[in-house]
């Protein structure tokens, strides 16, 4: 998308040292990002060892197990194995819902913060990020505490007379979405805030001057102008939500089992299946990459 193709003359001056200066970056990217993915790719094609680990023998068994029930290479006719596809589909829905929830709450929040006086903005931003000083596990457990049957949320609702029987939130999709929403909200707020802060509010005045009402101004002028921030926020929330395992593990149950938990289980203790976990992760990675590619295509098309 935004290729760093400018600044040729400056970089030429530094050409001899440039490669050396970039070495730490390349090492970091190579060792911590590319190498693990390559390892994962290799492992996904290996044979599983029963107590965890792998046997160095090439096989498509992991992918076969993911997609087909009786197996592509058995005697009987293969049939589709729906278990994992269902988990993936459910994860996509859960992550989409969490992203939508973050957007619905995050957009007005970001707008609110960006329109405060400059001196109070940093305080609001700080407030948004305060929960992130606490470990994600602890935050997720606190969420469980908050929404459990006799937790503060239910007691408050019962006390106010809004409900007669406590809400059964734990082990539902709603609980998982709440958990994901709470985990990733700042990733939505911060990029949108950055975009709204740069937004020139005289554009809204120009809209009003040209007979547009409030909603039309929001829809036709403000949102297109801050769209890059919205999309960045959606990606930043959607991608980790898709692979999340803490919220589904702690707040959900068997019916809300998600990709992250599936992969996690394959590597935990002796029961795991490393090649299958690696294959599941590769499939997830491919899905995310395809989604990002579509987005990049749409962006470049728009810029022409």
């Amino acid at each position: 998308m935004a290729a760093a193709g400018s600044g040729r003359t400056v970089s030429n001056t530094f050409a001899p040292v440039r490669n050396w200066l970039l070495l730490p970056t390349w090492l970091t990217v190579g060792i911590f990002m590319l190498l693990p993915i390559a390892l994962m790719l290799v492992y996904s094609f290996l044979t599983k060892e029963f107590r965890g680990g792998v046997i160095w023998e090439f096989t498509l068994a992991a992918y076969d197990q993911f997609v087909f029930d009786r197996g592509l290479f058995g005697d009987e006719a293969p049939s589709i194995e729906w278990t994992y596809i269902t988990i993936y589909f459910r994860s996509l829905v859960q992550a989409s819902m969490a992203t939508l929830l973050c957007l619905l709450i995050g957009f007005p929040t970001a707008f609110f913060i960006a329109t405060r006086s400059p001196s109070t903005r940093s305080m609001w931003l700080f407030l948004v990020t305060i929960p992130y000083w606490v470990n994600l596990l602890i935050r997720t457990v606190s969420m469980k505490f908050l929404i459990r049957e006799n937790g503060p949320l239910n007691q408050a609702l019962l006390g106010s007379g809004l409900i007669d029987t406590p809400l059964q939130l734990i082990n539902t999709n709603i609980a998982v979405q709440l958990g994901l929403f709470y985990s990733y909200l700042p990733f939505m707020v911060l990029p949108i805030y950055a975009a709204v802060e740069r937004y020139n509010f005289s554009l809204s005045e120009a809209g009003a001057d040209l007979y547009a009402g409030r909603w039309t101004i929001l829809r036709r002028i403000v949102i297109p102008a801050v769209k890059p921030g919205i999309i960045a926020g959606c990606i930043l929330v959607f991608v980790p939500s898709l692979g999340a395992f803490l919220a589904p593990d702690l707040l959900g149950g068997a019916k809300t089992f998600m990709i992250g938990s599936l992969i996690e289980e394959q590597f935990k203790g002796n029961a795991g299946n490393w090649p299958f976990g690696a294959a599941s992760a590769m499939i997830l990675l491919t899905l995310v990459l395809i989604a990002l590619l579509f987005y990049a295509r749409a962006q470049t098309k728009e810029q022409v």
Binding site: N200, E205, Y211
Partner: protein, 365 residues
Amino acid sequence: MNSIPTAVSIRAVAKHFGQFVAIREMSFDIADNEFFTLLGPSGCGKTTLLRIIAGFENTTSGTVLLFNEELKNLPPNQRPVNTVFQNYALFPHMSVANNIGFGLHMLGWSRKDIDDRVDQMVKTVRLEEFINRKPAQLSGGQQQRVALARAMAPKPKVLLLDEPLSALDLKLRQQMRAELKALQKETGITFIFVTHDQEEALTMSDRIAVMSAGEVQQIGSPSEVYEQPASRFVAEFIGDTNLLDASVVSAQSNQHNQVDVKLDSGECIPATAASPHALENGARGHLSIRPEHITLNALSTTNDLAGTIRNTTYLGTDTQYEIKLDSGVNLFTRTQNSGNQQHNFSIGNKVNVSFAPNSARFLSH
């Protein structure tokens, strides 16, 4: 005058921002079809007044009438008034055509009517080839034209322009002055034009309101505010002038505000008072004399306004002389260059200084 309707009527409008007074109570009318300019230094409240007319700010007190209808409480999107914003405020994600058509779309015009009007507007501002470009792909002058076309497309009764030319370079600015003026005459839309550039105001306007610190100092035609400034501020802000401390010695209240004033340096001079309350004996103020209204003659007889040329500056069309009068007062004058060397003076020459009583304005404030 009675036959021309009033487009905008400012009635006792004041605007405070907390303790700060951005606009002190002011009242004036702007006629239909008029090119009316608000002229004043930065921070004097021009934009604030424009924003009140457009509906972006409420008045602290007073009202604005548009063709005799009260505008109070009418939100900006319901006022038949359009604005050319100082930074243009073009919609960055829309093409030139969509920017220009936006207001028409909001007014519910049909697709075909919008297309026709947009075509007409891009022709008017000569942007036919750029109709599909985004604002970022246009030069400053072209963006300025889009802003103008967008604001004029819905055929507003009144167009508000907030320093529309200030971001352009000199050459383009001068060209756009003539174009804007022609466009205004052609369309008959009332223009309320804001600028801090006195030359812009003088060359384009039918009338000018000179503002300072939230107050209107004077309203008049360009020649009125230049030739007959009402206050020291106007005399200094518009054009160049000689300002001399003086007081009234004899108020001949007979006609045309004629007074005799005495400069603090001692000279007695017949002058014209800018305001009636300057016509009291002993009233103090300033005498304003435009440099080009002063005539220089080679010294012949003794005269109470005699002096010596201290410096000369060649300005092309004019020559500027700095003169020290025998009493010690410094003046500067401008004389048009005729090509006849005989009329020129040089440093050290003794000269007589003279000017008509009409050209010496006594300003009490």
